[in-house]
């Protein structure tokens, strides 16, 4: 009898704790979920403006996974698409913008988790001011763009062969090239149909 009531007590207290936890978490989730979705939307919007300068409106293409960028008069500025490829230690997700001739206008890495100091050099920005400049307020603003990704700007599909990989980060940087190539080929197929 004693053992039975012990067991009952354990079940009840653990059950109550789990129940309270679950209800608190569902409340927090309900509160934060819309904000998280909004943040993601905003991040991907910002990335679109970054990779396709000049476009102000983006509309999703029908039947295919890319966006059409137009300027304020409704003229075609180019296309924007997402693409990804397995890097060294993570999936590298990119946003790529191209003009109507499929020449690349910009690339942004949306997410990656490569080795710090090695693979992360794919998003390395050439430093122009030191911490001491920043602390004394002498720093020039404008963070600059990653030099590796800037190589892609102006290149089309065959031109990708000229993009140089980073020594010490070969796997990560060639994954970026492969991802862009894959995305461009897919876009081409979509546009031809």
């Amino acid at each position: 009898m004693k053992a039975k009531s012990d067991l009952f007590q354990m079940l009840v207290s653990l059950g109550v704790i789990c129940l309270v936890s679950a209800s608190i978490l569902s409340y927090v989730h309900a509160k934060t979920h819309p904000v998280i979705v909004e943040q993601e939307e905003k991040a991907s919007q910002t990335a679109m403006y970054y990779v396709l300068p000049g476009a102000v409106k983006f509309e999703p293409a029908k039947g295919c996974d890319y966006y059409i960028g137009r300027d304020d008069k409704g003229n075609l500025v180019g296309y924007v698409f997402k693409t990804s490829e397995k890097g060294y230690s993570s999936e590298i997700v990119l946003m790529v913008g191209v003009d109507p001739d499929l020449k690349i206008t910009g690339i942004k890495v949306l997410s990656q988790n490569e080795t710090p100091g090695l693979g992360t050099r794919i998003v390395e920005v050439k430093a122009t001011s030191t911490i001491w400049d920043v602390a004394s307020g002498k720093a020039k603003e404008e963070p600059g763009r990653p030099w590796f990704l800037e190589q892609f700007v102006g290149k089309d599909l065959p031109g990708l062969a000229q993009v140089k990989t980073i020594s010490g980060a070969t796997i990560s940087s060639s994954a970026v090239i492969r991802a862009v190539k894959k995305g461009l080929e897919r876009l081409q197929r979509c546009l031809n149909n």
Partner: protein, 194 residues
């Protein structure tokens, strides 16, 4: 006076990393930069204080045989709250810390303090213990993060220290984390012997 002791002891005398050697996994993994270290330290501190206070409040209702699963559920709840709030309001930090936020659940400092301290003491003491341990953890993590960022990336808070400094890459990688932690432990020991 006695109460303040519970706070102070976490900073040096019973520093969770340097003396208790708890929570080494997040210590080694996220201390690649000062920013990451601070973000991780503060989130863990929040979870530590909250779980310490709550556990010391409900300790008499939890049968001792199911106390560990109960603590884990409580801790996991706080961690999930931190994770959701961080993802919603600090997306940049969330992207940086990534997988390590959910892993706060198994940060043994938190379960360790719940089991060794909060389950036996009052609410105020548990709060101060959590605060002291959390700050001790954050400070140690930040020191390691700062050293590794300066040596391994040549930067402080993401800005370069000097434009022509060539970083020692090893310090950004796991071996560098072990080295810096080891050196800190030596320093602490030497300091204690004095």
């Amino acid at each position: 006076m006695r109460l303040w002791q519970e706070f102070y002891k976490g900073l040096l005398k019973e520093n969770p990393i340097l003396v208790l050697a708890l929570g080494l996994c997040p210590t080694l993994a996220v201390s690649t930069s000062l920013k990451n270290a601070l973000g991780m330290g503060l989130s863990a501190t929040f979870v530590l204080i909250s779980s310490n206070v709550l556990i010391s409040l409900v300790k008499s209702f939890i049968p001792s045989r199911v106390r560990i699963p109960s603590y884990i559920v409580i801790i996991a709840t706080f961690v999930t709250i931190v994770e959701l709030v961080m993802e919603a309001y600090f997306p940049a930090l969330y992207k940086q810390l990534g997988i390590f936020v959910p892993l706060i659940v198994v940060n043994c400092i938190i379960l360790g303090r719940a089991e060794a301290f909060a389950s036996r003491r009052g609410v105020v003491e548990s709060f101060l213990d959590g605060l002291g341990m959390g700050i001790g953890f954050t400070l140690t993590l930040s020191v390691i993060g700062l050293v590794r960022e300066v040596l391994g990336a040549g930067k402080i808070w993401g800005y370069p220290v000097s434009l022509d400094f060539v970083p020692v890459l090893m310090f950004a990688l796991p071996p560098g984390a072990l080295l810096v932690l080891g050196l800190l432990l030596i320093l602490k020991q030497v300091g204690d012997r004095r």
